[in-house]
């Protein structure tokens, strides 16, 4: 049994995902003591001091658009074939590790686990739904899986959803255009589980997101202050968090924190 973390990092001309992956990998090594493999492309890779456990080069799918820029997030389903580990954690590169919490994922007796619940720190809606608010969205930000026939089916189904995204957009009635791995994962897991819910497929803790309009300041290695403005009364509020992992939507702010 080999354990490790895999990060996808395809630069899009705006954000340096490869640099973000290196910063995240250092924190994974420090807090989790796990090796990190990066899956990237020849245009993103560059000379850096950090040495990944393995570097896997693939051709990115550049067809996804977000806010007039490209978002090379397609192809995550290929992780099943590409991972060099038999027990893998796959993370978004902008997931800030500040604790050993993810090691608890290995205590879960399952071959697949992802987040089904989120909390937006200092604001935002807590949960997203689609199909007339009937289906609660799962999150592809953090996934741990072992190589089994079931997990192979899950990732192959994610691939099928990606390849036929317009079709699934019509069936499940979510906003089309921009491909989201979260939607592909939600549909794939539901399909493979025969549209039943398996509680063992979910982390027993929530995924913490930081909204775009919240500014995060680093106080110590693992302590942060979140500052935001309440749009209703225009007052400024703050919150401090410590020893807590979180997912940052603001890539520039992320790079400031890990610099």
């Amino acid at each position: 049994m080999t354990r490790g973390v895999v990060l996808f990092a395809h630069n899009n001309g705006k954000d340096d995902y490869y640099g973000m992956a290196a910063a995240t990998a250092k924190r994974i090594n420090f807090f989790l003591d796990l090796p990190v493999t990066v899956i990237t492309d020849t245009n993103s890779i560059r000379e850096i001091k950090y040495k990944f456990d393995q570097t896997i080069i693939i051709e990115p799918d550049t067809t996804n658009q977000r806010k007039k820029s490209s978002w090379y997030n397609k192809g995550r389903y290929k992780i099943y074939e590409l991972t060099p580990y038999s027990d893998t954690i796959i993370l978004d590169t902008d997931y800030l590790i500040n604790s050993t919490t993810l090691l608890d994922a290995y205590k879960l007796d399952t071959d697949f686990v992802c987040h089904n619940k989120v909390k937006w720190l200092l604001g935002g809606n807590d949960q997203e739904y689609f199909y007339k608010n009937f289906i609660s969205t799962l999150w592809a930000t953090v996934i741990r899986f072992k190589k089994t026939s079931r997990t192979q089916q899950i990732f192959e189904t994610m691939g099928m959803v990606q390849e036929n995204y317009d079709h699934y957009t019509n069936i499940y009635r979510f906003s089309g255009g921009m491909f989201r791995n979260d939607y592909a994962l939600t549909i794939a897991l539901k399909t493979v589980n025969g549209h039943f819910t398996n509680p063992g497929d979910y982390f027993p803790w929530k995924l913490l997101h930081v909204p775009l309009d919240i500014k995060v300041y680093r106080d110590t290695l693992t302590s942060y202050t979140f500052v935001g403005v309440d749009k209703k009364n225009e007052k400024t509020y703050y919150l401090t968090v410590k020893d807590t992992d979180f997912h940052m939507l603001n890539k520039n702010n992320f790079m400031e924190l890990v610099a």
């Binding site: 909390k119 027993p204 202050t225 703050y238």
Partner: protein
């Protein structure tokens, strides 16, 4: 920039309700623990049940799997998880109570 100075200058207020929810999200999941091939949550109800349980007992874990447990050892572990988690939660909560 020093964060405390920034907060003073922005006249930012500490969001206590959000802090309470954040600490809940941080510490409640840590009451979960793996034992005897099952997943458990060290709740007051579980601890109370174990006080009156016989030497060995069959209990369904978080995922509904029935598991035969040695009560004394399981109780000791459940109390250890409960005490360490709630103590850390309480300490962190107390530290934030006087922040304005």
């Amino acid at each position: 920039m020093d964060t405390q100075k920034l907060i003073r200058e922005a006249k930012a207020r500490f969001k206590h309700q959000e802090n309470k929810l954040y600490l809940q999200e941080k510490w409640l999941p840590k009451l979960s623990f793996a034992w005897a091939g099952g997943m458990w949550t060290a709740t007051p109800a579980l601890l109370a049940f174990l006080e009156s349980a016989p030497e060995s007992v069959i209990l369904a874990d978080e995922y509904g799997n029935p598991i035969n447990l040695s009560t004394a050892e399981f109780k000791k572990e459940a109390w250890r998880v409960y005490t360490s988690t709630t103590t850390a939660w309480y300490d962190e909560y107390q530290k934030t109570q006087n922040i304005r």
